[in-house]
Structures are given as C-alpha cells and as structure tokens.
Point group: C2
Chain length 404, copies 2
Amino acid sequence: MESGYGKSDQTFLRNYNIRKVRTILREEGPCSRVDLSVKANLDKKTITNIINEMLKNGEVEVVSKSSNGAGRPKENLALNGEYSRCIGLDIGGTHITGVVLDFTGKVLCEHNIDVVNNDSDILFQLCDLVMEELLEKSKLSIDEIDKIGIAFPGHIDIRTGRTVLSENIQGWDDLPILDIFTEKYGKEVMANDCSRLMALAELRYGAGNDERNIIVFDLGLGIGCGIVINRKIFPGSTGMSGEVGHTIVKVDGSRCTCGRNGCIEALASGWALSKQAMDLLKNNESPMLSKTINKNTMIPTTKEIVLAAKLGDDKCIQLLKNAGRYVAIGIINSISIINPSKVIIGGRLIRDNDIFYDEMIKTVKKDAIPELIKDMKIEVSALGDLATAIGAATQCFEEFFEYE
Amino acid sequence: MESGYGKSDQTFLRNYNIRKVRTILREEGPCSRVDLSVKANLDKKTITNIINEMLKNGEVEVVSKSSNGAGRPKENLALNGEYSRCIGLDIGGTHITGVVLDFTGKVLCEHNIDVVNNDSDILFQLCDLVMEELLEKSKLSIDEIDKIGIAFPGHIDIRTGRTVLSENIQGWDDLPILDIFTEKYGKEVMANDCSRLMALAELRYGAGNDERNIIVFDLGLGIGCGIVINRKIFPGSTGMSGEVGHTIVKVDGSRCTCGRNGCIEALASGWALSKQAMDLLKNNESPMLSKTINKNTMIPTTKEIVLAAKLGDDKCIQLLKNAGRYVAIGIINSISIINPSKVIIGGRLIRDNDIFYDEMIKTVKKDAIPELIKDMKIEVSALGDLATAIGAATQCFEEFFEYE
C-alpha cells in the first residue's frame, strides 16, 4: 500500500474542529461561543477563530443576543440556511417526490407526482417536471442550488458507479445514474438507495436524532432497510447493505422476483400483497375487494386491500395480518444481528394501515429476544412521505459535518 | 449534553499519530522511518519524534539495518513483543482454551482443557488451572502479564457489566464477570462474547486482515457471529450484536432454548444435532450411530454423528446436510443485511465435518443474492481452535492502535 491514512497535520485538525463546531450548531441549535467551547471541548481562542471564519464565509449568523446585565451581551450563533441549498429527488416505483432543503435542514418546498407508468424515459421527464415545480415554488434559480441528491429503489455499486438491484423500476438496472443526472442538470449529483436515505433523514432530522445505532425499515412496493452505525449511514462493502426484503424467513416459501423462495418481499411487500389479493379475486374469495378495486386496472393496490379490510373483509384482514407477521420476523432477525437502540418504521405500506402495523408491532414485541428488545424503542418515521426526499438532499451536506 | 466530543487539541493529535504509527508497524511489519513517513502521511520530523519516544518506551525496536551503499544505513523498526504480554482465556461450554499473546500478536504458548461438566464452580477452578499451565509453559510470572482477556459464550450488557444470554454455561447468566475475574487475578480484565472475539482475532491476525467489513460465523455448541464494520468490532448498542443463531428462518419450526420457534440454533447447532440424533437412536433409525456413540452417556456428540455419517449412515448424512442448509440461510440473510467483503467460518462444528461444510457452502453460493456474493470471499478461520482465545487477549491491545 501507499498510504491508507489521510494526512493528520494542523490543517487536518483545524478542518476536523470546524466540522465539529458545525455539527454542534446543527444538533443543538443556537449556541454562544462559551457554549460551543464547552460542548466542542475546545479552548475559547480556537472557537473564536473558527467562528470568525464561519461568519466571514456566511455559513453562520448571529441570531440573538442575551445579556445577564453585566458586561457585553452574549451573541447566540446558528447555521445560516441560505449558505447552501440542495434539491432531493425521491424516485420510486409509484411516485417522484422532491424537496428543496437548506443548510439548516429546513424544507423550503416540496412537490410530488404519482407515477403510474414507470418506464425509464417517462421517469426522466417527470424528474424535470418536479425540478421545475420546486424551483418555481421556492422562487430560486437553478444557480442558487448547490447540489442535487437522488434516492432510488436500488443500489449503486461503489466500485462501478452503476445501479444494481433496482427491481422496481424497469430499465433502471445497470445504469450510470450519476453521470446521467450530472449531465442532465450540470450540477454535482449524489445518489443512493432510497431506504438508506430515508434512514439518513430520520437520523439527522427525525426519529433517530438521539441515537447512535438504528435500523430504518422502508416498507413499500419493495422492502429494504437503512442501517446507521455510530451515527453514520453504513452502506456495506460494495454499497448494497440493507437487503432485508430478500432475507429468507420461510424455507421453501413463495417465489420471489429475485428467483429465490421465502424472501420477506415475496410474502409481505406491496407487490406481494397485490399478487395475493389477485388470487383472492380469481377464486371469488373476497366479495368486498371486488367492490373496492379500480375496475380499469383490476390489480388491487395496498390502499384498496386496506379499504376492503376496513369494511370487514376477513380474507383481506388475514392477508394484511400475515404480511405484518412476516415483516416482523425480518425486523426481529435484523435486531438479533445488529442490536440497534431504536427501530424506525417508514414507507407507504404503513400509511392508514393499522391492521398490518398493529400485527407487525405485536409480533416484534412478542417474538424478539427479550434482552434485545427490553430497552429498544420502536417508532414510526417522523418525516413521513418526505423522509426519503429529505434524505436525498441531506446526503449532499454530509461532508460538512463530523460525527464520532 | 455537556460534551459528547473528546478533546481535539495538540495532545489528541499527537496520540492519534502515535497510534497510527503503531498500527502501521503492526499491519506492515518492519518499516524504516522513511517508509513510515509515506505510509502514515506524516512529515519526517514528526515520525522521528514519535519513533524516538517509542524506542525510549521500549515498544519499538530496531530489527535490522539496510544500506543502499551511500550514506547512513536505514534502520528497520518493528513492534517489540516484550513490551506487553496478555493472557486470553476462551471459556466455552465444552472447553477452556488459553494463550499468552505478546504485543506483536505472537502466541507464546497455549493450553486447552476439555470440559465435561460445565458447572460454574468447576469452571472457575479450571480457569485457574489453565492460567497456571500458561505461566509455566511461557516461563513468565503473573507480574509479567499486563491484562487478562476473557471470551465467554454470551454477552456483557455494556450498561450493567453483567453477563446476558449465556445459555450454554449453566449458572453464568446475570454474573458480574469482570468484577469476579478482576478480584480473582488482581489484573485489569476485559471480557466479551466469544464469537465477537473470534472475529477480532481473525481481523487482526487471521483471514480478515485485509478486509474492512467482515462477518465471522462461530459454529459450535451454540451459533453466533462477530461483526466487523470499518476494521472495528461492532458490539451493537448494548453489546448484544451477532445473535444470528437466534434469527428465525423457519416460521413454526423446532422449539429453541430461547423459547421461540425456528431459530437456526434450534435447527443446526451442536446441541440441536445431538437432540436430532437422539431421536434417531430412540426410533432405531440409525444402526451405525448406535455403534459410534459413547455407551456411558448415550448423548451423541457432533463428532460421533460425523463418524457415523462417514461410515455411510444415511440418516446422519441427511441430518448434517440439513444443518448445513439452515446455517447457510443464516449466512445468506446476514450477507443481505450487512454486505460484507468476506465471510469467515470458524468454530468446532466444522472440524473434520466436510458433509456439513460442503452443503453449507454449496447452499450459500446457490441461494445468496448473486450481486452480493459475486465478489465476496468465503474462507475458513485461519486461526482454528485458538481463534477465540487469541481474540480474548487481542482485545487487551486494542487501545494502542488506530484503524480508520
């Protein structure tokens, strides 16, 4: 090897300390110089130098002054949102959701389009549309946007930069996604798996903000999870961690899109539910479902199955409960391996879907190893349907901060 | 919060750089000052200062001199084994294995006792015996030992310091293990789960030495795994990661010691195999096994089952193949979640057990997600039966080194 190590000289230390101060301002909100000195474990002179530089750059601003009567009033400092703004695009199998996020993590505006045809050409055009809407709503020009972050349902092989395992968008497998979007918008583009970016958003701005090790389960058309280890997203060795949807929980169970049997995704995902519900219709086992589905498509969506269940359809209730139980086993197994302090549940599958959700939580609490779940928290995503888009933008800011 | 951050001043930087230099010497073997400067990405003056201090401390020594003809010959430096020696004790359900390890990772001596009665009182006495043998073999006095590292089949709750989930040693649950051993030997004691320490040994000195993210599966009386993330052992949020033996792969499968059903440990561990083989005997289904077992105990061990299988007993062959298949699913599921660059297989269950091992590897290669396994390596533990004891001692040296 030449050197696996970065430089560790004065400049390294200085940059490290600047990132540390930014991170404290991000996590703690407005702080005085004295607060920062205590919290960063740095002497006052170092803090003064760093803050002077940050004020000059415009990345920090004085937001208030407080006085205890004697001496000079203390200035309270905070990150300045206008220092940088990034766009996050969450490209899913059924939607494209975009946000403009500022440097403080504030969502300046959002826009969503439901996707019915996820042909790759159409998706690119719909991305343009969402971009235009976001710029119009935020009254910003594209020049005022620093970077664009993409979330998509699949991985990028860290070594090749190409998409892998993006099963839920046809034609997006083995695509040089970074190059395509960089060329398209003339900006620096970052891209990552949607579940991982949902986890990043919850970690920095949502339900995972106080935790070091979390797993965020993204339940939708597909099923994945984002893993946070020591307050950082863990991508795995080639960028493909979090494939909990393709863990096997029922040897010789139903066939999965991946070609194997008994994966959770084949038993309990959005697409598996549709498939199971179609069987119910074919066998005339669910009279209520035949009334709640869209007659034009005849492919039951989760929403339609949930509606039939709420109207008392036993078969649909059973179908949702089974799915809840299988997802619970995926959660239990992940907890057994990783031992997180919190599990967060997000994604469109849990929206207005209490039958599924309650069964899932009940099973996790009943069947997880008691010692592992005793003090572990389980919560619903705090950022809801925007989580992944926020995560897509958040990845653009990660280099500015330092988590230990 | 007061401060979640450590000091990041000159002393911090200096100590960081010292650990960095030690780590390069550990990983790369003898280096000149010029080599170190390049590899550590530090200027020559800093390296000279650090090496002078290390020579003075006795932690580094000059091992050779090389000359290119002109100028002063280059001194090659290496860690000095005598700088620190630690004892590692691997306390299992069926054995106690000990090693004396020096600062360079060299095993100075080893000692093993097979345990037939794992009553906790007897275990403590057997530990004394192993300690005595180790000191005698190494010709060291207890004063020349710096720390003692313990590996045991269970976890320590990081928050309470007490043992948790140590199912395979009776009476060792909820024990203040650190306090007991510290008082017993009057030394600083470190303790951790046996599978995690097997992983640490393989990471620092074995089959995982070139990898950043690995999973080491420890197959024995119980089944666990040690997880390495970014070249560090990952203990989980309360010290209980790696419970792959208690992941569920067969909904409604056999009853496990943990009270749940379908865990891998209930289907494929050393104790599950014994149980399944006893059923074979009871039903007179395995004539060969009734000849290979110890008539005094009548409880078939893995060794006896393997022997019957090798002699052509179909039922025993099937039993080992099934176990291999279930462990494979645990490996596949762990790979799907974590995406390691290498999987290492260790533990006493694979010893001379090709029928089990080959079926397991065949299933992993066939049923893992192709994109995840394509470039992933699978290897047998390089340190064999000593791995866990070496890991137990290795944990005592971790604070001296720095991995990024």
